[in-house]
Symmetry: C2
DNA sequence: GATTAATTTAACCAACTGGTTAAATATCGG
DNA sequence: CCGATATTTAACCAGTTGGTTAAATTAATC
């Protein structure tokens, strides 16, 4: 089903991915892809027929990468604290390596052209987006083990968790000018960020032993 | 400095705002604004000279609205628990009334054309984006009062908090198809979401009295 | 009611966009 | 080396885009 693609084709695909991720569907011009890939514009159509096809290939790939990383980052461990810690670790590392990925996915889904909508419909239909249930089940188990507090709707914790991990990467352009210096050592920052998220979500901020 | 604008001008501005919020800079066409506003395309240029100017007016306005709502939602109360609860309440309500606002701001900042960059530079220079410090100061006070745990870098809590509130609105297009039925009663959902966020961040999920 | 200024319109324009095509060039099996 | 196939190019095309303009219409002023 997945026909093999030549190195040239792959090179174009990689460049196109960069441009689409940076500028989105409307902001991306075929000419710019061609220029940055160092090929004639007609080559893009030779290999991919149309902007729609090229985009659809790329969106599908990146959307799956994003959703898969959610799934892959979540691996049940001995206790839920470890599971949570590992998820934050892995998911944050993926975001560090693909900082523009969540913005791309969110933006394209929100602009929601026909291509994107069809893509998502297919993936949902094929059952390829079932991360959440895995998550929720594990939360319920940890709850049953008496490890964590009872949650009425575990899905909320999922939202809180993902939101906490992602926000920094989505809001980067606001945060950077507001906190100059915060990112002088990005790696160190991310490590602290991971710890902070875990502490906030697992222990909360309330002073323990305080019953007010 | 702010010249008074006629009702017609304002009408166009409102429509233009809708279109820009929906489709972003590149996705917005002057013709569509004109059509939806029920005016001749030349009128847009008559009132606003260029797409850049029109956009710049709108971006500035919406970006300030977003940043102000962050600031306005944060009003110190008797105790930090109440402050936090109220912030989540107010900020979430604003998001409910302007669900596309965070996506718009994030998207435009990430595409980061010259207009946006200059806009942000001006606002930062004019000191109009100083919400965060207010926040951090209050956290430190609550810490000093012994109300909450010590935080090495309170700014992380800010990120976790905002991320938790915003994620649902940014990820709406992913969440809706994945959790059909979750939003059958959006208002009820949001109320539960507010409570959940507060619980997660203030108390954490760890079973209390458990010292593992 | 005439004159002036503000508003609105249709027609137009140059630049750009995605896409095509036919010819040129490179590649490769024989 | 030859033919066939795959790749690459420049020129081109029709539709769209932001923007202009001059004339027409309306509103305001006297």
């Amino acid at each position: 089903m997945v026909e093999p693609i030549g190195p040239k084709e792959e090179h174009i695909l990689n460049i196109a991915m960069q441009v689409f991720v940076e500028k989105g569907w409307h902001g991306t011009k075929m000419q710019e892809i061609a220029d940055r890939a160092g090929v004639n514009k007609a080559m893009l159509h030779y290999y991919f027929r149309s902007k729609e096809r090229l985009y659809s290939t790329i969106f599908r790939q990146l959307f799956m990468k994003y959703m898969s990383s959610l799934s892959d980052s979540f691996q049940p461990e001995q206790d839920f604290a470890s599971t949570l810690k590992q998820f934050i670790n892995r998911f944050s590392d993926m975001l560090r390596d693909n900082p523009q990925l969540p913005m791309f996915v969110a933006r394209e889904l929100s602009e929601g052209g026909a291509i994107v909508q069809q893509c998502v419909r297919e993936l949902v239909k094929d059952g390829k987006l079932q991360t959440p249930q895995k998550f929720i089940d594990e939360i319920k188990k940890a709850e049953a083990r008496g490890e964590i507090e009872h949650m009425e709707e575990p899905v909320h914790f999922l939202f809180t968790l993902i939101g906490s991990c992602i926000y920094f990467f989505l809001a980067g352009p606001i945060i950077k000018p507001l906190f100059p210096g915060l990112l002088s050592d990005p790696d160190a920052f991310l490590e602290k960020r991971k710890e902070a998220i875990f502490k906030h979500l697992y222990f909360g901020i309330k002073k323990r032993g305080d019953n007010t």
